[in-house]
Amino acid sequence: MKILVPVKRVIDYNVKVRVKADGTGVDLANVKMSMNPFDEIAVEEAMRLKEGGKATEVVAVSCGVTACQETLRTAMAIGADRAILVETDVELQPLAVAKLLAAVAKKEGPQLIILGKQAIDDDSNQTGQMLAALLGWSQATFASKVVIGDGKATVTREIDGGLETLDISLPAIVTTDLRLNEPRYATLPNIMKAKKKPLDVVKPADLGVDVAPRLSTVSVAEPPKRSAGVKVADVAQLVDKLKNEAKVIA
């Protein structure tokens, strides 16, 4: 079984983002970029399935600018066998990404596609579900456990009230939640090896996909600032403030 893992290049989660003064977006100049943390979990899960004899090949895919090649190299350093970049300078929205991934999936014929549940930049939480719709496949989002069986996967999902377990037929889409696994660090020898693994570059036009955005960004603004309040000296003063100043407890 082949597994496809879409990985997105995003601003590193430790970076404090700043909204541009002209309100057109956030400042991405010279900030550290990394693989979306949920996608690291996705690559790790694919590797564990391969190491457990459930998968034969793991292919990483990214859609975006040339620099996404770094993200793909990271995926291959974790262990992916090869990579595909769908290269474009157009700012991709989830529907466009899902269409590109659907076209790649039709060529590659994977039985399983593991995506992150959300990208930490745009926080959309859409791409996997859209891809499942376009391919007509089953889906299990927000996964915290994946077991591959005969023609099916048994997936435990993190839902609002707790956990639920689904049996889904293969081929299927799974999106990762935080507790699916703890991704390994890429070792230096594996980083070196990853440089020699195959990385194909295709264009959206080669896949016959129109990536024109459906949403336009009117403006991007700073959220209302919350300013620090006061430090209280002790518990008695805290109780007094809550009762008499904030009036949030009786």
Partner: protein
């Protein structure tokens, strides 16, 4: 304009999050319908019909909608989408699971977690863990939207008198089957609906401490209980306690963060709370930058003292 709101429910009762989505629909304006898809969900449809501002409730009652699996639900919504300009659901785990699938089947964008409505095509949504607010405009004929419940007040649960009509169920696609659910049972209020939340982080040290130290305080305050990711990852509490960018988004009257450092991913889930209290032994913990009242203290001494003082 005509808007379809997807009901969030458990086949027995309508979940409060639906009421926030109805308010978002009312802000957009137009005739509001609610779709109740479930199994033996007649009582939910009756409750939905009483929600103020709703004109019609449409009910698809069939066994294969009982578990809210995305494949069947999305197909049903798409089959009934004709005539609507907007399709909305609360950004719950169900809404987030299903609506992107609906949007892709309709070949339109999905707009995630809106917090306000500018006009019928234009919405505000947080990005980058709430560190930026994007105003986005849709060029699609149908807008498929999830609604962040903290951005909109709940519509009145009573006072409406909508008509109720049955809609035909679609085929069971048979692509996924529910094996089981492990739901956290608690007599406490739900995180999303609570007026007061007591939340614990890695500083609690263990699951045993979390319960021993925080439960008495939560009991006194009638509070819901939450946690940081670190506390969930360490196994102190189940996953549904997690507050943050990738957990639950809450905005109670009072949020008490105990042994939580205040990482941006955590702040993203609670910084719209009316009043924030932080108890942390590190005076430089970033949580103090958003706290209205900060207490620098060892939580194992301060929390029992606070509980006793209330």
């Amino acid at each position: 304009m005509s808007l379809l709101v997807i009901a969030e429910h458990d086949n027995a009762s309508l979940k409060a999050a639906t009421l926030n989505a109805v308010t978002a629909a009312a802000r957009i304006g137009g005739e509001i319908h609610i779709l109740v898809a479930g199994s033996g969900c007649g009582a939910v449809a009756e409750q939905a019909a009483k929600v103020a501002g709703v004109a019609k409730v449409r009910v698809a009652d069939a066994a294969h909608y009982g578990d809210q699996t995305a494949e069947n639900l999305a197909a049903l919504i798409v089959a009934n989408a004709a005539g609507y300009t907007h399709i909305l659901a609360a950004a719950t785990s169900n809404g987030k699971n299903t609506l992107p699938r609906v949007a892709a089947l309709l070949d339109v964008a999905q707009i995630s977690e809106i917090i306000s409505v500018v006009d019928a095509d234009t919405f505000v949504r947080p990005i980058y863990a709430g560190n930026a607010m994007a105003t986005v405009k849709s060029a699609d004929a149908v807008k498929v939207i999830t609604v962040r419940t903290t951005g909109f007040d709940a519509a009145a649960a009573t006072g409406g008198a909508a008509t109720v009509e049955a809609v035909a169920a679609g085929a069971d696609l048979g692509q996924s089957k529910l094996i089981g659910r492990e739901l956290t049972k608690s007599a406490r209020p739900e995180l999303g609906a609570a007026k007061i939340i007591v939340s614990g982080g890695r500083g609690m040290g263990s699951g045993e401490n979390y319960h021993k130290v925080l439960e008495p305080l939560a009991d006194k305050l009638g509070a819901a209980m939450g946690a940081s990711r670190a506390a969930v990852d360490a196994g102190f509490v189940p996953n549904d306690y997690q507050v943050g960018q990738t957990g639950k988004i809450v905005a109670p009257q009072l949020y008490i963060a105990i042994g939580i450092s205040g990482a941006i991913q955590h702040l993203a889930g609670m910084k719209d709370s009316k009043v924030i209290v932080a108890i942390n032994k590190d005076p430089d913990a970033p949580i103090f930058q958003v706290a209205d009242y900060g207490l620098v203290a060892d939580l194992f001494a301060a929390v029992p003292e606070l509980t006793a003082a209330l």
